[in-house]
Symmetry: C2
Subunit: 244 residues, 2 copies
């Protein structure tokens, strides 16, 4: 059987996240339906990750097993012609049969976009968090340095089950600003439920003075969600890249 690794971008605005669920529209349902049509057999996607309602992807990876002999170019064209305008296949390649887009993932990169300006951005209502107060980049950078490394990130997650392993490693946490746009890049070996949004939301609380940069280590140590800051809105978040 062939195993195809596909990278896609999607605007999550109109979907209840990636994973298939009854009674709501999801990315997986729409993509599975169209890819099954093009490959002319029922297809089950193996996705690299779930994404929340409203979260976007620049480079979501999944793989599918198929008996179809369709060529790669034909598959890409066929699917991109059928898919709605908010989902786009970027590339497709043949991979070894045992490749698994979730289990084989080494690390993932997320991007969080903030439109930092009194006036809203009429082109990015659902694509960037609109944050009106001026952001002190140096201050939030200072706080974010404490995120990097291997920590128990329970305080920075919506995980409720005590038995879940909440230790993760963040390799990079970068904040870039260009005009009104602030781009937060996080690379790690894995992320807990809502983790990136809480990491970013806590930086906004730092910006507003509710949390001091040097309090971050204590917040991590507390393993208590209530000690960390707000959960930043979903629509600023992008699954940017998955590394294998």
């Amino acid at each position: 059987m062939r195993n195809l690794k596909i990278i896609m971008a999607y605007r999550g605005t109109n979907y209840h996240g990636y994973q298939i669920q009854p009674n709501v529209l999801t990315i997986q349902e729409v993509v599975q339906r169209h890819i099954s049509k093009v490959l002319n057999e029922p297809i089950t996607m193996v996705g690299c990750s779930r994404t929340d309602t409203g979260v976007h992807a620049n480079g979501y990876v999944f793989n599918v097993h198929t008996n179809s002999s369709i060529n790669i170019k034909g598959l890409l064209r066929g699917c991109n012609n059928l898919l709605p305008n908010d989902i786009s296949f970027l590339s497709c390649e043949e991979v070894p049969e045992e490749f698994h887009s979730r289990f084989d993932c080494k690390y993932k990169e997320y991007v969080y976009l903030i439109h930092n300006c009194e006036s809203k951005n009429p082109f990015a209502e659902d694509l960037q968090l609109h944050y009106r107060r001026p952001i002190n980049i140096d201050l939030i950078k200072e706080a974010s340095r404490h995120y990097v490394g291997t920590h128990d990130f329970r305080s920075f997650s919506a995980v409720k089950d005590d038995n879940i392993d909440t230790i993760r490693t963040i390799y990079d946490f970068n904040i870039e600003s260009c005009g009104n746009l602030i781009k937060v890049l996080v690379k790690g070996n894995g992320f807990l439920y809502n983790m990136v949004r809480i990491l970013v939301g806590t930086l906004l609380d730092v910006n507003e003075g509710y949390i001091l940069p040097n309090q971050i280590p204590d917040i991590i140590d507390s393993k208590n969600r209530l000690k960390a800051g707000r959960t930043a809105m979903a629509h600023g978040l992008y699954l940017n890249k998955v590394y294998y």
Copy 2:
């Protein structure tokens, strides 16, 4: 009477252009309605330019005369709270009573955005022209050099009336590419109806080999719309900046 100069950004997707018209929704109608509410008197906007259906603006300038004593900050906040999410006031300043946003304009800058990739961009369906074939930047740059200067641009306009003066000066015509995004910047003392879209469309015809770069001077000299290339789609075009 006070005269206020306001700069706004808008996403033109849902509007029949800037100028007020019966039975269709326009930017002017929506903005005039809200600004009249905030200033508590009927307001007529003096706009710097018309824009076509679907064309966007990063920095559209207009001015309004008012008896209101409202402060600038209050006006901006009040309007931005009322305006729909696809229109945003960026700045407002008090100007001399005789200032006229159209007559006093020295030059204007337009930007045209092209997503140059086989796959579509799910975040910019209505914000960038999707052009699938590879663009030869050097080739279209070579052609575009002939645009710069003072010429009769009748071939590059949808103007039908022979009595209209079609001589314009283009000061700069730049083409930048960054990843899949190609950004065309045009600065001139004025633009004819559809002129930027035909200048860009002709470059796409150059890219496809229908027109050679060194044929551009002859096309200009012909003063014949049929000699120039296609009209590029409206949704890639932005009125970027107006200079006074």
